[in-house]
């Protein structure tokens, strides 16, 4: 009973916070002048007008996914399977691209590869490429996916790293007896972690599909920029919502494809049931390759954009000015980010639990159902939130004019993500752990508090951190709903970006990076303690 009530409560919470505003928007978009009308959808599905846009979107998302896997999978491999020197440092640094707002990375690269940019000059002098072609490259779909993949590869990396750590080492050892490291990786390890990697790629795909900043900067014509045009040039929220529909359709198709691929595949092999150790390769050439690769990725994805920022700040006083501008934003971001991450983790846990434990038939549908909402663009969610919560009733006003509306914005944007991550962690814990508690006759809350949550310690913290990072960077929805005096860091950055001196803007970006990195650093320090603690270890 407790269990049902709790799960029901959180599912209703999900419906209320995420489902309702978005469905409201879509409902609204088929309702024109008092009757049903698919006028906005006709344009999209029955004319050629949007064919090019949709294909552009698909190209952008697919390329980004492929590129970030090319960066992320090897990086994850080297960081978890070899004994690279400075491994910890690499690990922390590889978080940075995820934190720097993508449009900032975008500007850094455009400056480098634009016609008069430093790298452009290098290329046009020392290679066959003309200055024009390099500049054209960066202002294209390909350039946009290049920049985006550098921002998003840590997602694939993290997933790969985690999956590799969960592979039962016996499986690899049995291969190593007869084959080379390369062969074992290709024929044993890779197929084993393929579902996990795919899941990471899926996240990247949807994130890049709904990305607005970079395509807008580079004037790439994709669905998100079209949505933006409808919103800000024509103030037509219905048309904008309608254009968001293909995003959801694409995501839905993707989920179906994933389901077909996963059919009959089991994760059992991955379960950390037999041991918590991981096969580590300690081979010189592999280490050399690893360090070269990681340094390269570090250079391209972290050092170049970051040093452009640092180089632009020039003076210490810029930091002073930036902090003055963002003072309010810093405290707000930390406060909202932590509350948001806590809620996301909590609701994510129960939703993940729900979709893992529900009767087998519904299981995958619930997870898929939740995941679809991840593709909804920030603007659509934001307007939906306003429509739902901006009402004269005092309860609504209480939420709408306080930090809660910002938290709701975070929840609506990232709940699908946090519940997906949580689901993956929940898969690692055998059901018998809970059953063993149930048969003692203990109440579900006790089982929850004493067994389920403690066992998920690591997963909860990881989900919290990832949610925190995403929350701190959220702009699209927050800017539509934040009450006066509640601006967050990205909003501070965004509102001063245009006409403030470049050095202050760069300093502000650096402040964001440092601030977001702090909890990650703290976690990595704490995780040492957490890793020591499993003297326990799962049997």
């Amino acid at each position: 009973m407790q269990k049902r009530l709790t799960l029901g409560f959180f599912f209703i919470l999900f419906l209320g916070t995420t489902f309702l505003p978005i469905v409201w928007m879509f409902g609204n978009s088929v309702y024109e002048e008092g009757k049903f009308s698919f006028v906005y959808y006709k344009d999209i599905f029955l004319t050629q007008k949007y064919g090019k846009v949709i294909s552009n979107s698909l190209i952008l998302a697919s390329l980004t996914t492929i590129l970030s896997s090319l960066f992320g999978v090897p990086a994850g491999f080297f960081l978890s399977k070899t004994n690279l020197p400075l491994k910890k440092l690499f690990k922390i640094c590889f978080f940075i691209p995820l934190i720097i707002p993508s449009y900032i990375t975008g500007i850094a690269w455009v400056n480098l590869l634009g016609k008069t940019g430093f790298l452009n000059n290098v290329f046009s002098q020392y290679t066959m490429l003309s200055s024009e072609s390099v500049s054209d490259f960066i202002y294209s779909t390909y350039g946009a996916s290049f920049i985006l993949s550098m921002n998003l590869f840590p997602v694939v990396m993290l997933v790969t790293e985690y999956a590799l750590k969960s592979v039962n080492p016996r499986l690899e050892e049995s291969g190593l007896v007869v084959g080379s490291v390369f062969q074992v990786f290709r024929q044993i390890t890779l197929p084993l972690i393929a579902p996990a990697i795919l899941s990471g790629m899926m996240i990247v795909f949807v994130l890049s599909l709904s990305e607005f900043g970079v395509p807008s900067l580079l004037q790439v014509n994709v669905l998100t920029t079209q949505i933006f045009t409808q919103f800000s040039a024509f103030y037509n929220e219905k048309a904008a919502t309608a254009i968001a529909f293909p995003l959801i359709v694409i995501t839905f198709i993707l989920i179906m494809l994933e389901k077909i691929y996963m059919r009959g595949k089991s994760f059992e092999m991955l379960g950390r049931t037999s041991s918590i150790s991981t096969t580590q390769y300690n081979i010189t050439w592999l280490n050399v390759v690893g360090i070269t690769f990681c340094t390269f990725v570090l250079l391209v994805c972290v050092i170049i954009p970051l040093s452009t920022l640092i180089f632009n700040t020039k003076t210490i006083s810029a930091y002073h000015d930036a902090i003055l501008l963002a003072r309010n934003g810093i405290t707000n971001s930390i406060l909202f980010g932590s509350i948001g991450a806590t809620f996301l983790t909590l609701i994510g846990f129960f939703l993940g639990y729900l979709s893992e434990n529900i009767r087998s038939k519904l299981r995958s549908s619930i997870a898929a159902f939740i995941w679809i909402f991840f593709a909804v663009p920030a603007t659509v969610s934001g307007i939906g939130l306003i429509k739902l919560w901006n009402r004269p009733e005092s309860a609504c006003q209480f939420i709408y004019s306080s930090l809660w509306i910002v938290i709701l914005g975070y929840v609506i944007r990232f709940l699908p993500l946090s519940s997906r991550i949580m689901t993956n962690y929940l898969k690692q814990i055998p059901h018998a752990m809970e059953d063993a508690g149930t048969v003692t006759g203990a109440s579900w809350f006790r089982i929850l508090g004493k067994i389920l949550l403690p066992l998920q310690g690591y997963g909860l913290i990881a989900t919290w951190l990832i949610s925190f990072m995403f929350c701190i960077g959220e702009l699209g929805t927050t800017i539509l709903v934040y009450p006066p005096g509640h601006e967050t860091l990205p909003i501070a950055l965004f509102t001063v970006m245009a006409n403030s001196p470049t050095d202050v803007v760069s300093a502000l970006s650096i402040i964001i990076v440092v601030m977001t990195l702090l909890p990650v650093g703290v976690f990595l320090v704490v995780s040492k303690y957490l890793v020591l603690k499993p003297k326990l270890g799962l049997q």
Binding site: G114, T116, S135, F231, S232, Y235, I339, N390, S401, A498
Partner: protein, 333 residues
């Protein structure tokens, strides 16, 4: 259950309780670094607490205007201070604005305010041509925007996406002054001449500063930021001998059925005062006062030194709605 209750209590304690006291809520798309000091000065002067949502015109006021429209049924904002002269008129069309004729506006020239008081202008920017002085000599510089369709500027002109922001206003004004046919021809010529359409005015500025293009069409505030940073760029006020330069004042309007009407009016009175015009002229954004008698720094032109385009902003807003589809196609969207 207990622990959920405890968590809820703690979280509720975090809520900043917003007093519905002596306050005014303003949404502004004027850049925060320029608007904040003005609003603080108002707060100090009147003791009315100003609570502000900032956005920036550079990024097309997307957030604010959509938010205002979405909040229509239960307005939160009292005053909308727009960095451009057209969005208030758009809001007027959508029935979000209530008229207020301020006595402080009496000495503001007629063309910069609505007769019925739906919106009132102050401190203006202008639409200018920015050129890179390293690549373009004083003699070569284009004096008219129509020069930009000439072969010598092939592939060397940048302009922001004409669907958004001040660029869209500029286009709409051109359509009114030239008539649809001529305006379309000019735009098509520009396109044939390889004009670069970029995301925003500051992006135009960036390209000109870095010399990726020689000239660009942008706003005075972007130009003055570039000049203050010491970039090799110079400004031309185009078409001084013909149609004139587009002047774009800030505009302020009172939102219908907002919670603090009286305070909102006070804020409007203050914003359109000579005092604010002066402070905005002396700030880094270097905006032109609309009053002739406000003293400006040496590098800020006064309104009488520039020949303005003779357009009514109400018409501009209306025209903008008509030409949206054309501009969308023109920009390749």
């Amino acid at each position: 259950m207990k622990f959920i209750a405890i968590i809820c209590t703690i979280l509720f304690m975090l809520v900043k309780v917003c007093h519905a006291g002596n306050e005014v809520i303003v949404y502004t798309s004027e850049d925060k670094i320029f608007s904040e000091p003005v609003l603080q000065a108002f707060e100090k002067k009147t003791g009315i607490k100003v609570r502000t949502i900032y956005d920036t015109e550079e990024t097309k006021s997307a957030g604010l205007v959509n938010r205002l429209i979405a909040e229509k049924d239960n307005p939160q904002a009292d005053v909308f201070w727009s960095g451009d002269p057209v969005r208030p008129a758009l809001l007027e069309f959508k029935g979000l604005v209530t008229p207020y004729v301020s006595s402080a506006a009496s000495d503001i020239p007629k063309i910069y305010k609505d007769e019925d008081g739906h919106w009132t202008g102050f401190s203006a920017r202008a639409r200018i041509i920015l050129y890179n002085s390293n690549l373009v000599s004083m003699d070569e510089r284009p004096l008219s925007i129509f020069d930009l369709a000439k072969p010598m500027w092939r592939g060397q002109v940048a302009i922001a996406n004409p669907l958004f922001g001040t660029t869209s206003i500029h286009m709409s004004a051109l359509f009114i002054i030239l008539g649809d046919e001529k305006a379309m021809k000019f735009l098509n010529d520009l396109k044939a001449n390889g004009v670069k359409i970029v995301s925003s005015n500051s992006e135009v500025r960036r390209l000109v500063v870095r010399g990726e293009v020689k000239v660009g069409i942008t706003d005075t505030d972007d130009a003055s930021v570039a000049i203050k940073e010491g970039s090799p760029v110079k400004v031309v006020f185009p078409d001084q001998t013909s149609i004139g330069t587009l002047i774009m004042p800030n505009m302020v309007c009172l939102i219908k059925n907002s919670p603090n009407q009286e305070n909102g009016k006070k804020l409007i009175d203050y914003l359109i005062s000579a005092e604010v015009e002066k402070s905005l002229a002396w700030a880094a954004c270097a905006q032109m006062p609309l009053r002739y008698d406000v003293r400006t720094p040496a590098d800020v032109l006064t309104i009488d030194a520039v020949k303005g385009m003779n357009v009514n902003y109400h018409d501009v807003a209306k025209k903008l709605e008509e030409i949206g589809e054309f501009l969308k196609q023109w920009a390749g969207y």
